[in-house]
Symmetry: none
Subunit: 407 residues, 2 copies
């Protein structure tokens, strides 16, 4: 049972549009236990498309093709597939009526060429398009299922959910089912995660393990055809990694932190230098953050560290802005003035310039002030500027999370 996907579009091959179809379709398929075996992108080029489709058709049981169903001169998919499968294109009057109705509703005038989208290969099943004029098409070809789907995500997604998934589940859902679980790990390097996890699962059969290093976190992925095996693997992974696992699936660290703060009825403030607002920005990306987040200050200049956070001039003079002492006073200062339970601070050298032999680019101090005490951690994170900022925000958020887990 082999599934392939072809995405067509010159905008993809010129890099002007990021391909989100692969990710969307793969996740939807995983939900019914199916996997994509190959994905191919080609430009709106008739010959390139023909070759790619012919090759994929020879290999697969299910072939999905997105894009190229529109009315303009660079839309070739319908033609190429009809030709390859030896089917005539005939006008489908139901589709034509749908197109006419949509145009009427919008009150616009469109050229007659729009009705090329009503052409359907003989024997194809029409998949209605709720958000556009080009219908999807499902074709049975020598026991293989060929699906032609529209390119725009807002047209493809509802069509995929409403028509494609049920068909696939009915026809192929019983085969090749699998259970896929993802654990999100923070504070450990990818190789360390594997070193811990792999031995603990070594004796499990029918299991596929994967590791992905993301910005400031690692994803551990377990795939098994048996739920019981996936359960056992999850139990062992959780036992091995413990609190380093902050979430599963699509969880984001900032969401977990806001959820923990909300559950504990605690509030937080943020004092940022080198992160320049990244920590506050991530926290406030979470809906409901206003219940727990009081305020943040982005203090780039020394003077603003004194004025807004109450850092002492003497501390800045004695230790410099990038120091344990200043990180401590930043966190304590904003915690006191904001009247919050917690405060985090970050001061460091994002680079690419500003480093010295003593204080190199990448050096950062992260402070966490709680009602009981203030901790400051030192890290050296040698990344480009934006990655550095994100990593620091990750460490800061994780410090808050670990503190909340203790409570």
């Amino acid at each position: 049972m082999r599934v392939e996907l072809i995405n067509t579009g010159s905008e993809l091959m010129l890099g002007f549009t990021i391909n989100t179809h692969l990710s969307y379709i793969a996740r939807q398929l995983a939900g019914i236990g199916l996997r994509l075996d190959r994905q191919v992108t080609v430009a709106d080029d008739r010959e390139e498309m023909r070759v790619a489709i012919e090759e994929a058709l020879a290999r697969s049981d299910v072939l999905m093709i997105t894009g190229g169903l529109g009315p303009t001169s660079d839309d070739f998919t319908r033609d190429v597939v009809a030709e390859l499968l030896g089917r005539k294109l005939v006008r489908d009057e139901v589709v034509a009526a749908h197109i006419a109705a949509r145009i009427r509703k919008r009150g616009i005038r469109l050229p007659e060429s729009i009705y090329v989208q009503a052409l359907v290969p003989v024997g194809a099943q029409v998949l209605p398009n709720r958000n556009g004029t080009a219908p999807g098409l499902a074709l049975d070809h020598e026991g293989k299922l060929v699906l032609l789907l529209p390119g725009p995500p807002r047209e493809l997604k509802p069509m995929f959910d409403e028509y494609v998934l049920p068909v696939l589940e009915k026809q192929f859902g019983a085969e090749a089912r699998f259970d896929c679980r993802t654990f999100k790990v923070v504070g450990l390097a990818e190789s360390v995660v594997e070193e811990k996890v792999a031995p603990s699962l070594a004796d499990l059969k029918d299991i596929e393990l994967g590791y992905s290093a993301k910005m400031g976190e690692v994803e551990v992925r377990v795939i098994s055809h048996l739920k019981s095996t996936a359960d056992e693997a999850e139990k062992r992974i959780r036992a091995t990694l413990g609190d380093s696992i902050y979430g599963i699936g699509d969880d984001r660290l900032e969401e977990v932190v806001v959820k923990l703060l909300t559950a504990a009825r605690k509030t937080i403030a943020v004092a940022e230098s080198c992160t320049g607002g990244t920590i506050a920005n991530r926290i406030t990306n979470v809906s409901g953050a206003s219940e727990v987040f009081i305020n943040g200050c982005v203090t780039y200049s020394n003077e603003s560290k004194v004025r807004l956070l109450g850092v002492r001039d003497e501390t800045l003079k004695a230790h410099g802005a990038v120091s344990e002492e200043v990180a401590r006073e930043m966190a304590e200062g904003i915690r006191t003035s904001s009247g919050t339970d917690f405060a985090v601070s970050a001061t460091g050298i994002a680079g690419p310039t500003g480093g010295t032999p003593d204080k190199p680019v990448g050096l950062v101090y992260i402070g966490l002030a709680t009602p009981k005490r203030t901790d400051v951690r030192r890290h050296i994170l040698t990344f480009d500027r934006e990655t550095f900022k994100f990593f620091v925000s990750q460490y800061a958020l994780d410090a808050v999370r670990r503190e909340l887990l203790k409570q």
Copy 2:
């Protein structure tokens, strides 16, 4: 001259990661007049990878493969390619030393398996990895160029720019050239941009026009095989869109703003409510921002708007936190206390909750305080929370940009 790209990674084929490599690489190639002919994604599956690489190798002059160079058990690319090309893998001591140095610098302990990344196919050229441990590899195979590149974007991008592009340009740059120019437009809708641009270029031959709506901006793309045609098209597009064009190619609005501030020797402060740090974060993403950015405050609570920005209690009571008056006092307050030339502010309702009939989700006031006056603009931006925040930051940055253009 045929160029293909293979992206490997189970996280891509399971939909956990969106593939941004295709877009990045395609754009960089376009910059030197090269186009990608096919892109393929496969999982971390040794046999699936072998078949895809073998097929692509047979078809292409340049084959780029991303991912699968890491230290974990699901990293197969190095092995598969060495086997296909019939090359032995030998330990490269320079690479091993680079890995050791990176580990030492970060002061962390990593398992010995990390050194599998020092294995290099005989005859391969090593492409240094500035942001990670796995080097890139360039192989000449029967006149074809095979490039193995790391999967994490922060490692791939600098390597691609510094090592891959120059090699490609030298070896293949003379063939199949085209001139591709992109103009970044802010403050106009995509359909409005097309309505303005298309008629002005209607009589030009050998020209391919494209429009892409991105978050808070529109890209206009012109492709021509003739420099003179591209020049003429550029002249007309600039005449038509004027100041709405903020940059070209990969320019980012925050970079343009920091550049304009630096050139004018002006400083800025930011007072954010609904954007939660997005504006400060974007400004501080720009290297050199510390020359112009003094400080920012993220004031979610009303009390913090009073305490940190000097907004008056009466104003908050009379008009509410989301109001023209509060946006004005936020901008003026932080401008005065920070002693900057400019200050921007944003107060609004990011949603999904918190709206009322009078003040719906998406309502936002953006203030700009200058030495001469304060302007406040009102918008209604109905997007999801993060898109809303980005759009507001886009409008705020554009307000600063347009003010600086006047000076």
